[in-house]
Symmetry: C2
Subunit: 403 residues, 2 copies
């Protein structure tokens, strides 16, 4: 098999761990596979460099930040290549540029535009293990760029797609994707496989293992992703096309998002364009709106409730206040003590009763549902934050996810 | 003026010092100059990275070492550029590649083959301060290389030559070139100017301020070099063409090299080819021979004395021993307690009596001269090490270098 293995900052956090990574890569190679490795900077290194830059400026130029930060991954890649060579392997370290990763010029959050896999192909053909510095590429002008958060995962997935690897393994400090957060529900089980779309829902709901960018790219390029632990030999979770999953369960997981706040707009004038005006202004301020509920109009007035990430509440308030001042909204209120519990599963597309079971589970546990939002493969419920754990455990139990 | 300023590892040793460098560059720019800055890695950084590599291998691959080590200069360059931008300057950081530095593929000791100064020219024209990561370039295949010891100086000189800078200032922790080591002779004076050839002699005799590679390149490209201190505003020493120095003194400096050992070969068979055989074998082993004396043959035998760097004595001994065993040499002996004192000055080309004064100074101080070697601009004398300071002070006095 042709396998891409990506190791994050914790996995290469010190020299001993880099040696462990070398051992694991070596095993994979010795089993007869071709291996391309993608590495992050040693954990702490990127923060150190950011701290250096902040000594000089609160708002350092982004091109300079890219040249600064991209050095971390180069260090790890060269060290890992040296470790593999010492073990008798033919290895070669490559920068993002050497690996053919071409991006646009949005420094610190560049988008991959193209990958020229020739150098990697050639090295694979020569039997080499290729160690690529993740997180980085170059723009058309040959200036180094970085890919932003989760950038090394993205490098790995993009390379795996470009060289049509059989597998792209993302090694982290957790062993895979769980039916829910094991810290809340100890009976949570690791999933063997999950579809791209389910993973996207779980990731946007706070499962920190993979970022949506990487999953979206994996889906687009049809890359079989595996997340697994770099500290054990346990099998991980395969993220793949829905068709590849033999026996998809009705529900794959229960997600909890505590970082939501609810904004209630009371007495919104029921005239055309007001709601759209409010939400356009929020969008301009890059506030992410999630669940929205609008009541039926009554006496020429309506109420609108919606949720935003807690971190964006301040910006949202400022915008809402202008509407209160202009008299278009009678009053507003805010509630940070809420959370969003979601049931995710591709199975619900073809099965009825999944949502009904969620609602009855909440009722049975005396949890009042404040807001509801659904998609084809997800049911999200906003409840008071004090019910968070109770709701997660109740739903996990109701869909028998521990079986 | 168009000025290249190079700051070494000590000058950028921590964040505060990088800020000081930014202040100095800023002053130069504000005086109406165009400035290109070349920086080394923060002191200690390169050693740290070498230590990392040695954790994995005693003999790490040189291409990997280049990718590893070149990261240090990139960090300094981006930080300095950020600091300059914060001060209101339009600055841009460049890697060796971005600056157009093309080298051969001798990793860890690459030679600069060409410089494409277009990117620098363009940025200078736009009024920018350019901050270049020193010590590094790329080979034809686009793989990063490093230039070996003194590589950042070399980057600065090569760039200065390519863009025909008016001046290339090398900032270090010493304030210039002295008539002799001030730790030996407190009356030593800083030279205002010195010719390339004198500097080459002084450098090869142990003046650590500049390496010969950089001086040779400055001579070849006709670059006006200045060495000066990054910790004071004192004027430095200009290293330039002999013709540019208005009143060249008879003697510019006295150099002392303690790192020499003497090898004496007694009873060398006086037959053709023996001496050449010995010295060829030493050259093959990369032993650097310095002063050589061969006595007149006597009874078909001759004696040969020569000096080698102490660090190469072990290798030299092994080779000499094979000739003793084969009977071509009757006996050999070694003496590490010697030193080489040299008088350097372009003035001696056109003045007689300079050598005579050296010899009489030694005689006056009761110092026995063991070996003598001369060039057009240098007289070297090998004496017992215990006389080192006495000889230096005596010569410094005799040529009135404190005046």
């Amino acid at each position: 098999m042709l396998i891409v293995q990506k190791f994050g900052g914790t996995s290469v956090g010190d020299l001993e761990r880099i040696q462990n990574v070398a051992n694991r890569v070596s095993e994979t190679k010795k089993k007869g596979n071709d291996v391309v490795v993608v590495v992050s900077a040693m954990s702490g290194e990127t923060n150190k460099l950011v701290g250096y830059a902040e000594y000089f400026s609160k708002n350092p130029a982004r091109a300079e930040m890219d040249m600064l930060l991209s050095s971390g991954e180069r260090v790890t890649a060269s060290l890992l290549s040296i470790a593999l060579q010492e073990m008798g392997h033919d290895a070669v370290a490559m920068t993002g540029r050497n690996a053919g990763i071409l991006t646009d010029s949005s420094h610190t959050k560049a988008r991959i535009e193209d990958i020229n896999p020739n150098a990697i192909y050639k090295a694979v053909k020569e039997g080499k293990i290729i160690v690529v510095a993740g997180f980085q590429g170059v723009n058309e002008a040959g200036i180094v760029t970085t890919l932003g958060r989760g950038g090394s995962d993205l490098s790995a997935v993009a390379i795996a797609g470009a060289i049509q690897a059989d597998l792209c393994e993302i090694f982290t400090d957790v062993s895979g994707i769980y039916t829910t957060d094991p810290r809340i529900e100890p009976k949570a089980k690791k999933l063997n496989a999950i579809s791209y779309d389910e993973m996207l829902e779980l990731a946007s709901l706070g499962a920190k293992v993979l970022q949506n960018r990487s999953v979206e790219m994996a889906k687009k390029l049809n890359v079989n992703l595996v997340t697994r632990s770099s500290f054990s030999n346990e099998e991980g979770t395969l993220i793949t096309k829905e068709e590849n999953i033999m026996e998809a369960p009705l529900v794959s997981g229960i997600a909890l998002d505590r970082n939501q706040a609810r904004i209630s707009l009371m007495g919104v004038k029921d005239k055309p364009g007001i709601a759209s005006d409010i939400f356009n202004k929020l969008a301009d301020a890059e506030v992410n709106i999630d669940v929205i509920i609008q009541n039926k109009a009554h006496d020429g007035m309506t109420n609108i409730d919606f949720t935003v990430p807690v971190s964006e509440l301040h910006d949202a308030k400022k915008i809402v206040d202008t509407f209160v001042q202009s008299g278009d909204i009678a009053d507003d209120s805010y509630n940070e003590d809420i959370c969003k519990v979601s049931v995710v599963g591709v199975g619900m597309k073809s099965h009825v009763g999944v949502a009904a079971k969620a609602f009855s589970t909440m009722a049975k546990n005396n949890i009042n549902i404040n807001m509801i939002a659904t998609s084809e493969i997800k049911i999200s419920m906003v409840v008071d934050e004090k019910y968070a754990e109770l709701a997660v455990r109740g739903l996990h139990d109701a869909y028998e996810l521990d079986k």
